[in-house]
Structure formats: structure tokens, C-alpha cells
């Protein structure tokens, strides 16, 4: 398991790969989009974004981990879809349960 930063216990950490392949495919752009959505859904302070080395799953998109769950091939243009499908529900369930 790959934990760059544990954060505080009641924070959900989104780990975005900033390795060479992912950075070319838009780590920064994806991060900016997700950050924007975090604000919009008023999750500031509950969800945080950190960078990570190559996750060994270089693909046509960016590799991302939401908590401990790993995803790959996420493109910046699909940020919103990804956020509402994988981040928001997960954030709600894990954060509420605490």
C-alpha cells in the first residue's frame, strides 16, 4: 500500500501521480479541476490533494488514488465525472461514518 501522506484521520486524501507520464497527460489540470469541485461541494478541509511518484500504472491518463483505492487513466476532461462517481460519494460515506 502506498501512502505518501496520511493526513489527519478525518481527511480524505486524493493522491495524484505527478510522474513524467502522468504529468504530460495532465496531472496539474486534473488536480485543478478536482480542487475546483472540492470547493464547489464545500469539502475544503475535508479532502486534500497530494502528489506522488510514478505509481507504475502509466497509461493514457493520470493515475489517481482516492484514499486507498487506485485508479488509472483518468483524463482531465473527465474530472467532473470522476469526482461525482468516485470522490464525492466516497467522501460522504467515509467522512460521515466518523
Amino acid at each position: 500500500m502506498n501512502r505518501e501522506r496520511e493526513g489527519s484521520k478525518d481527511m480524505l486524501i486524493i493522491t495524484i501521480c505527478v510522474g513524467s507520464s502522468c504529468s504530460i497527460r495532465g496531472s496539474d489540470e486534473l488536480a485543478a479541476e478536482i480542487q475546483h469541485l472540492i470547493k464547489k461541494e464545500q469539502l475544503d478541509g475535508l479532502v486534500d490533494i497530494v502528489g506522488a511518484f510514478c505509481m507504475d500504472t502509466c497509461s493514457k491518463g493520470v493515475s489517481v488514488r482516492v484514499g486507498e483505492r487506485a485508479f488509472e487513466g483518468i483524463r482531465p476532461e473527465n474530472a467532473s465525472e470522476f469526482f461525482y462517481k468516485e470522490i464525492l460519494p466516497y467522501a460522504n460515506s467515509t467522512l460521515l461514518s466518523k
Binding site: 513524467s20 480542487q35 511518484f53 507504475d56
Partner: protein, 393 residues
């Protein structure tokens, strides 16, 4: 702790000459060092050929430990005679240092070595004798840490002739200038060489009347760098591999994503990748090139990078650069890695041999791409005169 000779040199050509009549050859290996400064009779092509040959022969013969007599004899037999002056003549000063400590100096008609210890000029007990018909001066002595040695050609002694110095800058004044530079805090040989050659150029009013060469040397502890790259093939050796890194002196470098995670885990430290999400960046933060490999921090480590790509790019940079000054000023992972490696005199690679299951090519090759790059780095660094060791775990 091992001692080494740090050095730097510079030649100013006589105004209007394309070739320098002074020749410098320095061979620096981890345990042996030889520096030759030779000044050929006259200036231009003839002088250049005479001094080049002399320096070349001297460096080879002294490095292999031949007696002075043999060397002078070989010179007499090899140097072409000047058709005008019926003379085959080039001065020389040869300094050999073994293990950064035992020095042997032989001079023929050249300005004496300037040796400065604790900011005082040291008077070396030179012995004069004839070797194959030529009057040479010779001495063996022991060097200490922080000793400074300067070799000059007579173009330095004559600088300012008829101007500020009626008889030229002169050996004594030059030795004093060196002491002044040292007490002013000029601590490395590169800066010392720069300061001396700038002064010399000024004394000549920017038009040197003769070829003028300086070699600055300093005895200092050899600097180490240790690179841990790749997790060990056997997971039980993780702790050992990391302890090999933490127990060394000098700069500590980690190259590889999973290696970095392993180090962080063993040391119970956080692995923080140097990346701030775009919205939180300060406006003055330098922009990182897209696709350039990232850097991370682990407490106690001097540099933490990814593996293969960074190593490959660092090798490419090193192939194009001989010294730190040739490196670009970038702050990306591979430039920082190249810089740390160039700063070191001894480099130890601790290479984990685990095969990355995600790299099909590794599996086919039966060896990681990592090893291929490490071998390339070892070759380049050895050619630069560094002591390099690989340890596989």
C-alpha cells in the same frame, strides 16, 4: 578519511598568439595525482609542440614511477631541436601526489612551487642535482589537509613588467597575492585560479607579453555520495539496504519510486512529493517543465527522485558536462542528481536487484533497465576521475 587533490588551472595566451606555449597535463585518479606544467622555448607553434611533448612524456613516466634520469634522457632523445637556436628546450615542473599525501616535486628551470600551509609560505628543502646532464631541483614532502599549492609559468612572474612592477609581478609577490586571496576567504581552487589569472591579465593590461599559466591545487578530504536505487530482490534485505545509505558520510540520494517508499517505511519518515496542487501555488513559484520527473523529500536524505527516467537523463547531462559549471541551472530531478554526483569524489551505488513486474522488458532481459543506466553512469563518472563502486543487494 581519504584525502584528494582538488585542482583547477588556466592559461593566458601571449597576445596575438593562437597557440599557447605552455602545456598542462593533469591526471587525477582516486589514489594518484600528477600535474605537469611545461613551458616551451619561445611562443606559438614551436613552443607549443615542445611543451606538449614534455608534459605528455612527463605525466606518463612519472605516473608509472620512472626515475627522473630516465625521463630527462627520454626528453633529450625525443624533443625536436630548434633549427635556429640549436636547442631542444622546455621547462617543466612535475608534481606527483599519492594517496593525497606523499608528494614528489621535480622542477627544471621553472618557477618554484608555491606551498601555503596555515596561511604561511612553506620553504621546501629543494635538492639540486644533475640528471642526465640537466640541473634539476627535487624534493619529497608530506602534504596535509588544506595545503594549497600553486604552479605558475614565468609568464606570471613577468606580468606588469615595466609597469606597476618594474621587474614584473615576481614569485614573492605572487605568493603573497595567493595568501591574500586565501585570507579573503577564497576557499576553492577554481576561484583561486580565477582571481590569479584576472590579476595577471590586469597587470598585462589585457595584452599578455608571454603565455601565462597557473595551476591551483588544494588538499582536502574526499567528498562522498551514496545512491540507493532499486529495492533489494529479497524483501528481508530492505532494512540492510537502507542502513547502508544512512550509515555513510556525504550526500545521500534515493532514486526510484518504490525505493523511496521503502526508505520512508524503514526510516518511519514521510515521503513528500514536491508538488503543490495548482490552486495552492504561490504566484512566484517556478514553473516545472511538463514531463520532467518529480522530486520528493524524506527527512535525512539530500535528494529523492524517481528511477529509470531520472537516471537516464542524469547520464545524458553528465555526458555533456565535465564540471559543475557546464550543467544547466535547472532545479529538476536529473540536474540536481548530476550536480550531486559531480560534487563528489567517491560515489557508491547501492543497487537493489528486484525486477519490476510491470516492466516487461526487464523480465525479458533478466536485468532491470536501472542496471543498464547505472553502468553507464559508472563509466562516465570513472572517466571523470572519480572513484566509483557498485554494491548489489
Amino acid at each position: 578519511m581519504r584525502q584528494i587533490v582538488e585542482y583547477s588551472w588556466n592559461s593566458l595566451n601571449k597576445a596575438g598568439e593562437e597557440l599557447c606555449g605552455d602545456s598542462v597535463i593533469i591526471r587525477s585518479n582516486p589514489d594518484s595525482f600528477v600535474a605537469v606544467l611545461s613551458d616551451g622555448l619561445g611562443s606559438g607553434v614551436k613552443a607549443s609542440i615542445l611543451s606538449t611533448l614534455t608534459a605528455e612524456i612527463a605525466s606518463r613516466m612519472f605516473e608509472s614511477g620512472s626515475p627522473v634520469e630516465d625521463f630527462v634522457q627520454t626528453l633529450a632523445e625525443t624533443l625536436p631541436e630548434c633549427s635556429v637556436r640549436k636547442l631542444a628546450y622546455a621547462t617543466f615542473a612535475v608534481l606527483t601526489v599519492s594517496r593525497g599525501k606523499d608528494a614528489h616535486l621535480v622542477e627544471f628551470d621553472s618557477p618554484p612551487l608555491i606551498l601555503i600551509r596555515d596561511n604561511a609560505l612553506v620553504d621546501l628543502p629543494m635538492e639540486e642535482r644533475k640528471a642526465s646532464g640537466r640541473k634539476i631541483r627535487e624534493v619529497r614532502f608530506e602534504l596535509r589537509e588544506n595545503d594549497i599549492m600553486i604552479l605558475i609559468s614565468d609568464g606570471y612572474e613577468h606580468a606588469g613588467l615595466g609597469g606597476i612592477y618594474r621587474l614584473g609581478w615576481g614569485w614573492k609577490n605572487i605568493a603573497q597575492a595567493v595568501q591574500r586571496f586565501l585570507s579573503a576567504g577564497i576557499a576553492d581552487t577554481r576561484k583561486l585560479t580565477q582571481s590569479l589569472s584576472k590579476t595577471c591579465m590586469k597587470l598585462y593590461d589585457d595584452k599578455p607579453g608571454d603565455d601565462a599559466t597557473v595551476i591551483s591545487m588544494k588538499i582536502r578530504p574526499s567528498a562522498r555520495a551514496t545512491v540507493l536505487t532499486g529495492p533489494p530482490a529479497n524483501k528481508e534485505l530492505d532494512d540492510f539496504a537502507v542502513s547502508r545509505l544512512t550509515s555513510t558520510e556525504g550526500s545521500k540520494i534515493v532514486c526510484g519510486g518504490s525505493t523511496a517508499q521503502m526508505v520512508a517505511r524503514v526510516l518511519k519518515e514521510e515521503l513528500l512529493v514536491d508538488w503543490v496542487p495548482p490552486g495552492k501555488r504561490k504566484p512566484d513559484e517556478p514553473k516545472k517543465k511538463k514531463g520532467s520527473p518529480p522530486i520528493a523529500k524524506i527527512k535525512g536524505m539530500d535528494l529523492v527522485t524517481e528511477g529509470i527516467l531520472t537516471l537516464g537523463m542524469a547520464a545524458e547531462l553528465l555526458r555533456a558536462s565535465k564540471t559543475i559549471d557546464d550543467l544547466p541551472h535547472d532545479k529538476d530531478a536529473s540536474t540536481l542528481l548530476a550536480r550531486l554526483l559531480l560534487q563528489a569524489d567517491e560515489i557508491y551505488f547501492i543497487v537493489g536487484t528486484a525486477i519490476n513486474p510491470n516492466q516487461i522488458a526487464d523480465i525479458i532481459r533478466g536485468e532491470s533497465m536501472r542496471m543498464v543506466y547505472i553502468r553507464e553512469l559508472v563509466q562516465i563518472l570513472s572517466e571523470l576521475g572519480k572513484y566509483v563502486e557498485i554494491e548489489k543487494v
